[in-house]
Structures are given as C-alpha cells and as structure tokens.
C-alpha cells in the first residue's frame, strides 16, 4: 500500500501521510526459523505475516491458481523475505512468480539461505531479488534491509521505497545498490577484508 501511494502521489514529504509500519511477508518452511524471523522483524517495528510455503505466500498475495491479485492482503505487503530451500516451491520459484505479476513485481524480495553459494546468489539477483541474506539471520541483517528500504520523510513517517524502481527512473545506479550489500556479505563470509565506498562502487 505504501508503495502504491508513493507512486500515485508522485513524490514524498506530503504532510497528510500517516505513519505506517512496513508489512513484511515472511516465508520459511522451518518452524524455528519462521518464529525467529518474525521476532526479528517485529523488533524492527514491522508488521509480519509469516507463512510456511511459497504456495501460502502466493495465496496471501492472491496470486495462486494463476489469477491476478484481487484480495487486499497483497496490497499491504511492502517486502517479501523468503527462505531459498523449501519443498515443492523454492524461494527462487516464489521470486519468479512474484516477478511475473504486474501487480506485485514492484515488491522487493529478499532471499535467505543457509548456503553461501555464489551462483545461487547471482541467480536470485538476476531474477530480481533485492538482497540475499546468509543464515542464521541476524538482527543487524534485518535492520539493514528495513533501513535501506525505508526513508524518513518530512513530517515524520516511514515509507517503503521500491529501490529497483527508483534506480530505473532516475538512471542512478550508484546509491545503495544491492551489489554493494551482496559483495559485502560474501566477502565477509570468505574472511577477506574489503573497502567499499559510500557510493557503492568497490
């Protein structure tokens, strides 16, 4: 809903916006991980809907059975965070389905995985994932994602900015781009130290 309104209004900083929490749809087949990610997100002041499969995620969005969204649930979702390895429908497959939808392709999708496989990360980013988190997920990971996907506006309140759309519109590829974050993640995991500049270029 937040993304829609921002697009309709054509800009930010309108004083008649109310403060809203980001509504996150979390998808993970693991009982333990689902509970943890839910708590982590709530700790970052998000509203959370946690489901145990890609199928249920699509149902929540109103995208199942190849029908376009009619329900209101999907309109509330400002971010989808999904596990990669799930039975029946992987996080990648869920990502693809979201990207196929003209209604929901604007929602940022973050993939989580316990396996730090570069080809997997690349594949997800190429398909349109906003970011990739290696499990176990830390509060700092969640905070980082919520922070760079929201912004404070004149008059208060936070809005989800769709990063990809912003970048596409402005042609500016330097600010806060996913490669900055992703490279940080797997360089950190391989133990190399690195320097990244503020504008996202190495």
């Amino acid at each position: 809903m937040a993304v829609r309104r921002a697009e309709e209004m054509g800009g930010y900083g309108h004083s008649d916006f109310e403060t809203e929490e980001v509504h996150v749809l979390a998808v993970d087949d693991s009982l333990v991980d689902r509970k943890v990610i839910e708590r982590l997100l709530k700790n970052t002041s998000c509203k959370v809907t946690a489901v145990d499969s890609g199928r249920r995620a699509l149902q929540f969005l109103g995208l199942d059975d190849d029908k376009e969204a009619n329900g209101f649930n999907g309109l509330k979702v400002g971010l989808i965070i999904t596990d990669y390895s799930m039975p029946r429908m992987t996080g990648y497959e869920l990502l693809s389905k979201v990207m196929e939808s003209s209604v929901f392709r604007e929602i940022p999708v973050v993939i989580m995985s316990s396996e730090n496989i570069i080809t997997r990360i690349d594949r997800c980013l190429e398909e349109g994932a906003e970011d990739f988190i290696v499990k176990p997920v830390k509060l700092s990971d969640v905070k980082r994602i919520i922070d760079y996907m929201t912004a404070d506006f004149v008059g208060g309140g936070r809005r989800v900015i769709n990063k990809r759309k912003l970048r596409d519109d402005s042609g500016d590829r330097s600010s806060l781009s996913p490669p900055y974050t992703i490279i940080s993640i797997f360089i950190v995991n391989t133990g190399f130290s690195h320097q990244t500049s503020q504008n996202g270029k190495l």
Binding site: L31, V32, D33, K35, V36, R39, P87, S114, L139
Partner: protein
C-alpha cells in the same frame, strides 16, 4: 534461595555452555530478543527446536533403515536439522550435522549411520544442559520478584 547466588549460578552455567562450545552467537541473539513483551521467547524457540528435532530424528532413523537408502531424502532431512540447530546456536549439534552430510553426499551408509549416532548424542547432551540451564534461569527470574 538467595537471589544473588542463583544469578551467579546461572551466569556460570551460561558461560560454560559457551566456553565449551555447546552454544554459539545465535543463542545470544535469542536472549536479546527476549523482553518484557516476550518474556519466554528463548524457551518458546527451544521448545519448537525440540519438537522439530524429534520429528526429523524419527524421519532420519526411518530413512536409514530403508533399503535402498535414499540419500537425497536423508540429506534433505539433515539439511533441515542443521538449519534449525544453527538458528538457535547449537554449535556441536550443527557440526555433527555437517559431518553427516559429508557422508551423505559420498553415499557412505556406514558413515551416515555412525555419524547419526554422534548427532543424536550431541543433541541429547545439549537438550539436557539446556533444560537445566533454562530451569535455573526461570528460578532466578522468579526469585527476583520475591
């Protein structure tokens, strides 16, 4: 019992759980996520972990007893078990899961059976220690309000 003494016991046991490598960083995060609004968060997650582990252990037993052994299914179950162990910071259990998965990808049945014994052993040890620890934490919390 004296509150300070209880708290001291809790702190000692907690330190030894980390020093001896039973628990790791993610467990600290669980503790940090516990607050007045979620006073039993750690216990809730740990209980979910026990339930999930029981299910997975049973599935793995069954898969190991089947002939022929379906190594893909085995790896899948162990991947899940490793995932949840890792999420709560159960370091030794997670490490044994890794060893198992190595035997699994080599399709080494003997190795799988042996390392599964290790997984179950580490899980049982951790569970016992956590039950004692969390019970002490509970007692210390109650004693504070007395």
């Amino acid at each position: 019992m004296n509150r300070n003494r209880l708290q001291h016991q809790v702190a000692c046991m907690r330190k030894s759980l980390f020093d001896q490598g039973y628990l790791d960083e993610p467990f600290i995060q669980l503790e940090e996520l516990q607050d007045d609004a979620n006073p039993n968060f750690v216990q809730e997650i740990v209980t979910l972990f026990y339930t999930d582990s029981a299910r997975l252990i049973q599935n793995i037993e069954h898969a190991l007893n089947s002939r022929p052994i379906d190594f893909n299914k085995l790896d899948d179950y162990m991947h899940q078990f490793k995932g949840s162990s890792s999420s709560i910071g159960a370091k030794k259990v997670t490490n044994e899961c890794t060893v198992f998965r190595e035997y699994c990808s080599a399709e080494n049945a003997e190795g799988c059976i042996r390392s599964f014994q290790q997984v179950k052993q580490e899980y049982a040890i951790l569970r016992r220690k956590l039950e004692v620890y969390l019970q002490m934490v509970g007692q210390a919390a109650v004693s504070q309000t007395a």
